[in-house]
C-alpha cells in the first residue's frame, strides 16, 4: 500500500477556494482516509473511539476525513501519513482499466473523480498512474452516459444511473434536459406559462400534509 505524505508542490490546476460554499465539495472532502500519526497528539485521545488513551500515540492508525488528513499531511514535516483509500489503489485501478463501464463508481464513493483529483495533492508515487486512471475511466464511460441520456425515454436507465458517480449523474441529467426540452418544444408545449417552481412545491407540500 502506497503511503502518502506532505507536498508543497501540490497541483496548480485546482483552485482550492473556488468552491468555498459548494455543498457537494464539502461533502466530498468528508471521504474517510486511513491515516497513521507520525507524532503523538497530546490530549486528543478521544478522537479515536477504539481507544481509552488520553493521547493519540505516534504510530496510531485511524481514519480521518479528507479535509483533516490534508491539513495534517500536506506540510513540510507531516503530522500524519495517509494511505490511498481502497477505491484508488492499484487493484481497483486495474479493474477500471480492464472495463470501466462495469464498475459501480457511486459505490466506490459518490464523488469518485472529485476525491480522486484531491488525492493528487498528496505526495506519493502513484500520482501519475492515478491521474491517468481518472481520465481514462471517464473517457471510457462517456459514450454510454451520452447514449443512455439521449435515449432515456425509451428504455429503463435506472440501473445504469445507480452506478454513476456524482459528476456523471449531473452529466446524465444535462444530457436528458437538452433532449427533453427539445421534445417539449417540438410539441409546442414550451410556450406554456407555468406556476413558479417554489409555489408549485409549496402547494404540493401543503397537499401532502393534508393527505396525512
Amino acid at each position: 500500500v502506497s503511503v502518502m505524505s506532505g507536498s508543497f508542490s501540490s497541483s496548480q490546476s485546482s483552485t482550492a477556494n473556488a468552491r468555498y460554499f459548494d455543498i457537494d465539495e464539502i461533502l466530498a472532502t468528508d471521504q474517510k482516509m486511513p491515516c497513521e500519526f507520525e507524532q503523538p497528539a497530546i490530549g486528543l485521545g478521544f478522537i479515536d473511539p477504539s481507544s481509552d488513551d488520553k493521547d493519540v500515540p505516534a504510530g496510531a492508525k485511524l481514519e480521518l476525513p479528507l479535509w483533516l488528513a490534508r491539513s495534517l499531511a500536506i506540510r513540510r514535516r507531516p503530522f500524519v501519513t495517509v494511505e490511498l483509500p481502497v477505491a484508488y489503489r492499484k487493484t481497483y485501478r486495474e479493474i477500471l482499466s480492464a472495463d470501466a463501464n462495469v464498475v459501480d463508481l457511486h459505490k466506490l464513493g459518490p464523488f469518485f473523480y472529485d476525491v480522486g483529483m484531491k488525492l493528487l495533492e498528496f505526495e506519493h508515487d502513484e500520482r501519475e498512474d492515478l491521474s491517468r486512471t481518472l481520465l481514462e475511466t471517464f473517457l471510457n464511460r462517456f459514450r454510454r452516459i451520452m447514449d443512455s441520456a439521449q435515449n432515456a425515454f425509451h428504455e429503463d436507465t435506472s440501473a445504469m444511473i445507480e452506478k454513476l458517480d456524482d459528476v456523471e449523474r449531473r452529466l446524465f441529467q444535462a444530457g436528458q434536459m437538452g433532449v427533453q426540452q427539445f421534445e417539449v418544444w417540438e410539441r409546442m408545449a414550451s410556450s406554456k406559462l407555468v406556476t413558479a417552481t417554489a409555489v408549485a412545491s409549496h402547494r404540493k407540500r401543503k397537499r401532502d400534509q393534508l393527505d396525512l
Binding site: S14, M117, R132, L135, F142, V167, G178, Q181, F182, S190
Partner: protein
C-alpha cells in the same frame, strides 16, 4: 449558461418571410423595422412572428420558403445521409421555421406531412452524426472543434451535456498532464 428551445425560436422569429395579405394597410413603422404597405394579393416580407400573428387572425397566407418543399428537402436529406461531415442547411433556423409554419400554417405548406417527415429525418440524421463526432472529440481529447454547419437549435439540444463533459474532461486531462510532467522531471 442556458438557453431554452423557445428562446432559440424567439431569435429565429426575426427571420423575414413572405406573406400574401388579404387586407389593406399603410406601411407600419415598428421599433424593429418598417413593414408593408399591405395590399390584398401583393406579397410582402415580414418577420416570422408577425407572419404567424397575422395568419392566426386570418389576415394572410404565408408563402413557405422555397427550400421547404418535398423536392429540395429530399435532396437535402440525400446529401446529408451521403456526407460524412455536416452539410450546409438551407437556413440557419430550418427547424424553427419549419415547425412554426407546419404548426401554425400547415394549409399554406404543400405536402405538409411529407415535409414534416423529411425535416424530422434530416434532423435525426444530423443529431446521430453530432453524437458520433462528440464521441470522437472526447476520445481524442480534442481541446477545440469546428462546427460550422451546425444550427443553433442543434447546438442547443447538446449544449448543457457537451460543455459539462468537456469541462470535466479538461480538469482530468490537465491533472494527468501535470502529473506526467512532474514524473518526468523526477526521473534522474
Amino acid at each position: 449558461s442556458v438557453m431554452n428551445a423557445d428562446e432559440v425560436e424567439f431569435l429565429a422569429e426575426k427571420q423575414l418571410i413572405t406573406i400574401i395579405p388579404n387586407f389593406s394597410e399603410n406601411r407600419i413603422y415598428m421599433i424593429g423595422g418598417e413593414f408593408g404597405p399591405f395590399n390584398p394579393s401583393l406579397p410582402t416580407d415580414v418577420p416570422l412572428w408577425l407572419a404567424i400573428h397575422l395568419k392566426k387572425r386570418q389576415k394572410c397566407r404565408i408563402k413557405a420558403p422555397e427550400w421547404m418543399a418535398v423536392e429540395p428537402l429530399t435532396q437535402t436529406k440525400h446529401d446529408e445521409v451521403a456526407s460524412a461531415v455536416f452539410t450546409a442547411m438551407p437556413s440557419d433556423h430550418y427547424m424553427e421555421i419549419a415547425m412554426s409554419l407546419l404548426n401554425n400554417a400547415s394549409d399554406d405548406v404543400p405536402d405538409a406531412d411529407r415535409v414534416r417527415t423529411l425535416v424530422k429525418d434530416i434532423w435525426d440524421t444530423r443529431i446521430a452524426k453530432l453524437r458520433k463526432s462528440i464521441d470522437q472529440m472526447v476520445r481524442s481529447q480534442a481541446t477545440t472543434a469546428e462546427l460550422t454547419c451546425l444550427t443553433v437549435m442543434e447546438i442547443n439540444t447538446i449544449r448543457p451535456f457537451l460543455t459539462k463533459a468537456l469541462d470535466h474532461m479538461r480538469k482530468l486531462r490537465v491533472h494527468a498532464e501535470e502529473e506526467h510532467i512532474r514524473q518526468k522531471r523526477a526521473l534522474p
